[in-house]
Symmetry: C2
Subunit: 365 residues, 2 copies
Amino acid sequence: MAVTRLTIVGTGLIGASLGLAARGRGVEVAGWDPDREALAAAVERGAVEAAESLAQAVADAELVVVAAPVASLPGEVAAVLGATGEETTVSDVGSTKTSVVAAAGGSPRFIGGHPIAGKEAHGAEHASAGLFEGATWFLTPTADTSPARYKLLHRFVVDLGAFPHAIEPSAHDELVALTSHLPHVLANVVVNQAGATQVEGHDPLENPGGSLRDMTRIAGANPRLWREIFLDNADAVRAGLAEHRRRIEEVERALERRDDEFIGRWIGEAAANRRRMLEVAYGDAGALQRVQIHVADRPNVLAEVTHAFGAARIDIRDFELDHVSAEQGGTLTVIVSGEDEAARAQALLESEGWSCVVSAVLDEG
Amino acid sequence: MAVTRLTIVGTGLIGASLGLAARGRGVEVAGWDPDREALAAAVERGAVEAAESLAQAVADAELVVVAAPVASLPGEVAAVLGATGEETTVSDVGSTKTSVVAAAGGSPRFIGGHPIAGKEAHGAEHASAGLFEGATWFLTPTADTSPARYKLLHRFVVDLGAFPHAIEPSAHDELVALTSHLPHVLANVVVNQAGATQVEGHDPLENPGGSLRDMTRIAGANPRLWREIFLDNADAVRAGLAEHRRRIEEVERALERRDDEFIGRWIGEAAANRRRMLEVAYGDAGALQRVQIHVADRPNVLAEVTHAFGAARIDIRDFELDHVSAEQGGTLTVIVSGEDEAARAQALLESEGWSCVVSAVLDEG
């Protein structure tokens, strides 16, 4: 490991996971949390060695990572910078970057960070050494940052199995506003609108359909965390929402004048954008085929299907079981690559008595 | 089966699947499609027996189901009603109901229908006898409808393994505007906004994150089908979008004045609505736990995990593999019921060398 002595300030899920990951790689890890119970939980989990105070925790650290809630980050980072000297590099793991970078006041010793992981869970008791494996980890060096310290932090992130991605603090906040904060706002708005509307006695939430469920998966998640994120990144989120409204109005006007051509072009544009997004994840997005079967509400169907696919050496690219209800069962979706592979999957499933539907993941026809 | 002689007008995916399902249950099925290739494909698939003309197809039918594209439905249904007499009940499977019910002009022989199934695929070659198993199937009888005919159609739908749900035509269109059409519009708008925005050289679609991907799964889907649905249901969709914009503006204003209390209350409302929606699907939504592991990009991991869960008799409620990239691997999410079951799953996975994170599906803390 690039770092040998690490201090974690804030020992919730992310802090404790960082402790476990670093300790598992031989790093000496001290921890501090103003909440004594949170600190005790992290010690119990084996994630950190408890310090007696913030000052004791950060003394001698090569790297201090502040894993405090977003609203407390600026204050905590400033306090850590004040309590440490030249030997110490400081970073954080908050979901927004502008305010915390500003609080560091141009210190060459601070570099903001944001691993994309773990927003669903909280508490050291759920910490996991593997939380950062494969995760994108934004780093926000500025013109004031010491290049040697950036290099140290970059290596530390790579050592944890994550993928560092350097970006300006304000660009980071605009980017996550679009890719994460805006989707969270929309999920909340959509589920609240459906929940507030009774259509002649029919409740939209009682027969939601797959698209409403997909779109509202992240609705209402982790309220304490998200309240702070929305407020801290309020300006970028507002700008994203204003543009969203402008685009919605454009669609409303096209629907009002029954503009077939606009609607067709607009769906085509969405298909092309989705294709571009999926190419990053799959490389061969255009070849992906969706194989869907209806499954009754009984155990072992998953094991049976995955076992059958494994035995036939059909490579499963993605996989999803969506439960509808105990009465109605659910849908199992398997993504495979190529029409031949889809035909093999279909033949296999049908030979086992499952009736399936095959469709292209990207269907622009 | 309640019906012994069925005619299907329009032999694409839905029509041909209906043919397969009915034939598999001993029903005599005639088919007609103005597109001779589509008709030949359905015959090839064994879904229908080809008629020579619409008139020949519908002669003597007990039930005619019109499975034409949304824009052609009103004309086709009127034509079928004109070509048939008292012995024949007529229905359809379109995604919107107001316009087609109006085209039936109060005929007691027509009842609108809409099975929630199969919008991803098209063509008789992908037809499946199991397409309607477990599916919700809206039926839209009116005051003019013959009760005996409604009863016949209701039994037919149940015989196919689907779940009939009676609703007024206009209420149906408002309901699906909220649960399906609005989510589709938003998915297109969100992916187009992300695709059109470069943030200081960073492309949001190249690092989308899970929430943007979930929210845009249905973006750009099946353009021909969706163009017709949006235009046919334009008024209900516009009303839904206007209300959506109003709610977005409310959030923007709360963010502008940094209204912590509003944001907290609003997220809490979303959490309660999501809980209500999930209770329908799971009964015990509050007990659901999410167990997540990072998986590298290699085959067989799914079979290994499902096999291990099966052997330990841990009941998998839902299941999902989300691929991020070949380099970064993906996340496997398993939903189980109860904290004890989650702890068993975690211990099992960790004994096999997987590090996992557990969180409550509904986390309102």
